[in-house]
């Protein structure tokens, strides 16, 4: 693992809440739309945001052994994920500082900051089990 100051880490910002525009005045909306576009463009120009997309409100949720398909997520929800940014930044601190600049925050939007992992933690655990087994076999 690199320990130089140029090491970069990837983070995902998940924007939660897809109805925070309700009840805003046209002037407030104008400002938040302009601020959000400017924020995204600046982060892209700085090379800190390498991608991002809004998600359609409608979707499907699949669960269970029967693979049940339900409409979802809940179209109007404070928890629903409305979109994401993919960040490449120095560390978690920088990712949090960027999240704090989200123009939707003052209207009730919530930002989840998550590190992007190189490898699934469950796969690592399975690997550890099988290493353990191999070690046991050769002991």
């Amino acid at each position: 693992m690199s320990t130089t100051s140029t090491a970069k880490s990837d983070y995902l910002l998940l924007f939660r809440g897809n109805v925070w525009d309700r009840g805003l005045s046209p002037a407030q909306l104008q400002k938040v739309v302009s601020d959000w576009m400017a924020w995204f463009e600046r982060l892209k120009a700085e090379g800190k945001c390498v991608g991002g997309n809004p998600l359609e409100d409608e979707g499907k949720v699949i669960s269970g052994k029967q693979r049940t398909v339900a409409d979802g997520p809940f179209a109007e929800s404070k928890e629903a994920i409305g979109g994401y940014f993919y960040l490449t930044v120095a560390d978690e601190k920088e990712a949090i500082e960027i999240a704090k600049q989200c123009p939707g925050l003052e209207y009730g939007s919530v930002v989840e900051v998550r590190p992007v992992a190189d490898e699934c933690s469950i796969k690592q655990r399975a690997q550890e089990y099988s290493n353990h087994e191999l070690a046991g076999a050769t002991a």
Binding site: D10, D21, Q30, E56, K65, G82, A99, E106, S109, R114
Partner: protein, 139 residues
């Protein structure tokens, strides 16, 4: 975009069961990849932060690590339509272990912005005007 919810599906599985499940997941993923269906995919670290409030004044640890709702990773598909994405999601092996999959169409433009096209138009015009002024000033 497929969002995988419930990152602790491996709890309670024996090492053999876990190995079998992981083999199925890897085969599923490789099959999709070879079929050119995967645009990007990453697991997420289970640690993260939740930012809320004006200027992000609340920073909490999250998401709730034990939650069945927590997003454990994502996969961006090349799919012809929502039906194809749902069919791919239904073939995901860990559904049998309690994971649920949220299928969400990715948009080029935010639904909140779409609800207010006049504002977006004005915001873009202002951005162009500002750039023109800047170019004129620099000339």
């Amino acid at each position: 975009m497929l969002l995988f919810r419930g990152p602790h599906w491996d709890r309670g599985l024996t090492p053999d069961q876990l190995q079998q499940a992981m083999d199925k997941v890897m085969a599923w993923f490789e099959g999709l990849n070879e079929g050119g269906k995967i645009k990007s995919a990453q697991p997420l670290g289970t640690q993260g932060r939740i930012i809320s409030g004006t200027n992000g004044r609340f920073v909490l640890d999250g998401p709730f690590a034990e939650s069945k709702e927590a997003v454990g990773g994502y996969l961006v598909l090349h799919a012809a339509n929502l039906n194809e994405a749902v069919e791919i999601a239904r073939s995901m092996p860990t559904l049998s272990y309690g994971v649920s999959v949220e299928v969400r169409p990715i948009l080029a433009e935010c639904p909140i912005f779409q609800r207010h096209p006049d504002l977006v138009q004005r915001a873009s015009e202002r951005a162009v005007q500002a750039e023109q002024l800047w170019v004129a000033a620099a000339a």
